[in-house]
């Protein structure tokens, strides 16, 4: 079955590593991803305004195009895109009048009928099953102690959460299937500081410091995540952390898919750490 793939802006720029590795993983596991032609902005942040439908046009346009191309599933790699698209989808599915208004407004697009399911790539891997992942593993990664970091947008609100919002396990399951050892990591869903990174990087630095130190305390030798914004904050703010906490030792950060391509013998990313 073909699955529509919505990259979003970050995957083509700062998170290119996530896209490259994820597409390689999909290839290795025979997941048939087809990038949507003419994709536009996902909407960036899901609008909580009930009555301002204009804010929903961007995600619904994407869903309408996906549906018109005959896809029933749309997958994303970016947590922000996932959250915005999935929430907008529920928002219009719950109320046909809203949907009609948005459809009327987008008269240049085909009408969206509500028949697309938005799934994060992690959910697709979960549905594939750990056995399939295990059988694709070519390299022994049993020495790797991994802290799996989720951030917020994959798990909340619960209506679109891909796993238990307090005690998620989906990343750990995948990491375990690859042969690595996920560590106990209570800070796994703590906020990374999100967009504060743009104007108040020290807020992010302080938060990320606590997150990474907690991973280290629990024996992790690297942290994996799936969210490009979390990844940026966890990785790039380590410079600021060093200034605030001189004793801080760097912590390697990877996209979960980078571990996967290494495990599948496609890359050798981990050799450098």
């Amino acid at each position: 079955m073909e699955i529509a793939y919505f990259p979003g802006c970050t995957l083509k720029t700062t998170a290119k590593k996530l896209e490259d590795s994820a597409l390689a993983v999909a290839d290795a596991l025979d997941i048939n991803l087809k990038e949507l032609p003419n994709w536009t902005c996902c909407g960036t942040v899901y609008s909580l305004a009930e009555d301002d439908l204009m804010r929903q046009v961007a995600p619904i346009r994407t869903l309408a195009r996906t549906e018109a191309l005959g896809y029933s599933t749309l997958t994303t790699l970016c947590s922000v895109c996932y959250n915005t698209l999935a929430q907008a989808n529920l928002f219009v599915k719950a109320d046909s009048i809203r949907l009609e208004k948005i459809n009327n407004f987008m008269d240049e697009e085909p009408d969206y009928k509500g028949n697309v399911e938005v799934k994060h790539f992690l959910t697709i891997l979960q549905e594939l099953g750990t056995e399939k992942l295990k059988s694709a593993v070519k390299k022994d990664l049993s020495g790797l102690k991994v802290a799996c970091y989720y951030g917020c947008l994959l798990l909340r609100p619960q209506s679109v959460g891909i796993d238990d919002c307090e005690q998620p396990y989906i990343l750990e399951n995948i990491m375990q299937a690859l042969g690595t050892k996920p560590v106990f990591f209570p800070y796994q869903v703590e906020c990374c500081g999100s967009y504060h990174t743009a104007v108040k990087p020290e807020i992010v630095a302080r938060r990320v410091y606590r997150i990474l130190e907690n991973a280290r305390e629990n024996g992790a030798n690297l942290v994996v995540t799936s969210c490009p914004l979390c990844y940026f904050n966890l990785k790039n703010r380590q410079k600021e952390i060093k200034k605030l906490y001189p004793g801080f030792k760097p912590m390697p950060i990877f996209y979960f898919t980078e571990i996967m391509t290494d495990a599948f013998g496609l890359t050798k990313t981990l050799e450098n750490i």
Partner: protein
């Protein structure tokens, strides 16, 4: 036929919106209406007098009262018309308040039109009404009380003291319920078992109470006045008549399992009494953990240890059939499982406890002898964090309601902890402190000020382990600061949920429950201890979370309702029951299947002629049969198909002949 129409102003409630003058004029023009008038408060004494006088003076044969909902005053007006000799079933209430003036206050003209339609429909319906007489059914003046906690104990004692027989059924091996597990009770700090145990003994000794512990209600049939109940007595494998409660068997038993009474924090043997003051003081072999099975006896230690030879491995479950006239449901509560609160480490870390677990640690007869110790390493915790509203007031956990008792017992816990560990620190996270009750607020103030407990207004987001400490992340919303506390122990005031099996039991009794599984009362204010299933009464936390004083009050209230019911020799029931029209009924029996009360049976006469028959006592007048019948072969008295048709035609402004 001379119909009188009386229209109530209800002060401004109705008259402030509707054009009463026009209603009276139009009502007077309706067919068969001999008289129409209005009055400021028809339900008042002079209002009722006015109705009575006009009935006599004008020889009215039928009456329509256009006023509030029949739920409000149907009985008031029925009594009024009855006093002057009019059959109360020739009275119809047209609800022009709740269903008209209140909801359409912004559109008075249309509302007046609607009120007129409602009145027209009521007139059409009453014109086809027939006088009805209440039916009487036998009343078995015995009661079944389900649940042997403080609610069930209180209800059983009150009814038994009133002179009627009580069957008290408790699922566990002893009376007492959760109250027996508590250390001390707020706000007086009475020792819980000291005040409860005498009541338990009184139940066991009462000549009017038949006590069934380690038993469950298996089946209930029938209706108010005549329930047939099947009780299953589970086998204790110990003869209760021979057992002296000496405990020699437990001493000999080689199997040690967690004790449910101590919330799993202590241990018991496979042959056990839940706690030393258990009533009855009879040991029970828990076959699930005993080395013996139904088929194979491999261990006879207890058998040999038992002096009076009370042990009997071959005991079988017994079924006991009883007949009662009323049932009191006092099935109590459970706590939301700790596992549901993963963010607080519930079910993950041994030192994250529920309120009831902490209660056992505080109890002098508890697993630690009243010394507060951590389950993980036995150390005395020097810093304890109490988290209120753990699951309660939280739609995400399915319990948006307040569990009511947690503010008080948390204050009590903090106080008792400080008394047990004077150099310890106690923190309480709360949303609001709800201390509504006699001397409750004073108690909480005392805890806050004199015991120097730190109350932090805010929620906890997460609890996790760091080395041998529990890290609590919360917020103090008064100072606006994030708070991190390294604690030795965390106590969660977990939400109160209905006890398991309450829903099954409610289904068996056709007693409605709410969306959370608590038993529903008929009216939250005016009939708080009755279920809408007649003859079923509610007591205790099975209806909603409540503390001991409220539970005892409600149990006594339920008991007084039962005593009121039992003050009559026979039961008089409303005549609104299904009636079979033998001319039309051909015995197709569609109605038999749809009847939710199994009140309809199919009868085949000797000549092969078939028809259905209604057991009046069982019928609740719901009308499912009438709606299903394709031949107008069955009708609910007072709501016949013809009456309903006339009502609908009138609403649609059609003459029935059209």
């Amino acid at each position: 036929m001379r119909i009188g129409v009386f229209i109530c102003h209800c002060g401004k409630n109705i008259a402030g919106v509707l054009d009463i003058k026009r209603l009276v004029e139009e009502a007077a023009k309706l067919k068969d209406v001999a008289y129409a008038t209005d009055y400021v408060y028809l339900c008042s004494e002079p209002g009722q007098k006015e109705i009575q006088q006009k009935i006599k003076e004008l020889e009215l044969t039928h009456v329509v009262i256009a006023a509030c909902s029949p739920k409000m005053h149907a009985t008031t007006f029925a009594r009024a018309v009855e006093e002057v000799g009019l059959n109360p079933y020739l009275l119809e209430i047209a609800n022009i308040r709740e269903q008209c003036s209140w909801v359409h206050h912004d559109a008075p003209e249309e509302a007046t039109e609607k009120a007129l339609e409602i009145i027209r429909a009521a007139v059409a319906k009453v014109s086809l009404a027939k006088p009805l007489a209440p039916i009487t059914v036998p009343l078995t003046r015995k009661v079944l009380v389900i649940g042997g906690g403080i609610a069930g104990i209180q209800a059983a004692l009150d009814i038994a003291n009133g002179g009627f027989e009580v069957y008290l059924v408790e699922r566990s091996p002893s009376l007492g319920g959760h109250m027996a597990q508590l250390s001390e009770t707020f706000p007086t700090l009475d020792c819980s078992s000291c005040i409860l145990t005498p009541r338990m003994v009184e139940v066991a000794r009462h000549p009017n109470i038949h006590l069934f512990t380690y038993a469950e209600v298996k089946n209930v049939e029938g209706i108010v006045g005549q329930y047939k109940v099947t009780i299953e007595q589970k086998p204790r494998y110990v003869d209760p008549d021979k057992c002296t409660g000496c405990g020699d068997c437990a001493e000999a038993c080689p199997v040690i399992v967690p004790n449910e009474f101590d919330q799993g924090l202590g241990a018991r043997k496979a042959v056990y009494v839940p706690f030393p003051q258990a009533v009855p003081l009879v040991y029970t072999i828990d076959l699930e953990h005993c080395l013996n099975t139904k088929r194979l006896i491999v261990c006879e230690q207890c058998y040999h240890a038992c002096g009076p030879k009370a042990i009997n491995y071959l005991m079988e479950p017994k079924e006991i059939e009883i007949e009662v006239g009323a049932i009191v449901l006092a099935t109590g509560y459970d706590l939301l499982p700790l596992e549901a609160l993963k963010e607080y480490g519930g079910g993950i870390y041994p030192d994250v406890l529920s309120g009831l677990e902490f209660e056992r640690l505080l109890s002098a007869s508890g697993p630690t002898g009243g010394i507060v110790r951590r389950p993980s390493d036995g150390k005395i915790p020097k810093r304890v964090v109490f988290i209120q509203c753990a699951g309660s007031r939280d739609p995400e956990h399915g319990c948006p309601y307040c569990s009511k008792i947690c503010c008080m017992y948390t204050a009590k816990h903090a106080l008792l902890y400080k008394h047990a560990v004077p150099d310890g620190e106690a923190y309480v996270f709360y949303i609001d402190v709800r201390a509504a009750g006699k001397r409750y607020e004073e108690f909480v103030q005392r805890v806050m000020e004199e015991e120097r407990i730190v109350y932090l207004r805010g929620k906890v987001s997460k609890v996790f382990q760091r080395k041998d400490k529990l890290v609590v992340w919360g917020v103090d919303t008064l100072s606006g600061m994030a708070v991190e506390i390294e604690a030795d122990m965390v106590v969660l005031a977990t939400a109160i949920v209905p006890s398991k099996n309450t829903a099954d039991l409610a289904k068996l009794l056709k007693a409605p429950i709410d969306e959370f599984g608590f038993l529903n009362e008929v009216h939250p204010k005016l009939r708080p201890v009755e279920s809408s299933a007649m003859g079923i009464y509610l007591a205790g936390a099975a209806q909603a979370p409540k503390d001991i004083p409220d539970t005892v009050s409600q149990a006594s209230a339920a008991a007084s309702k039962v005593l009121g019911l039992f003050s009559q020799e026979e039961l008089s029931l409303e005549p609104i029951k299904a009636e079979v029209n033998l001319e039309n009924c051909d015995g197709c029996a569609y109605c038999v299947d749809v009847c939710p009360f199994d009140a309809i049976t199919l009868v085949v006469e000797e000549d092969g002629h078939k028809h259905v028959e209604v057991k009046k006592a069982l019928c609740q007048g719901c009308g499912c049969c009438m709606a299903t019948c394709p031949k107008e072969g069955i009708n609910v008295a007072g709501f016949t198909l013809n009456q309903l048709k006339a009502q609908i035609h009138a609403l649609l402004k059609e003459d029935e002949d059209d």
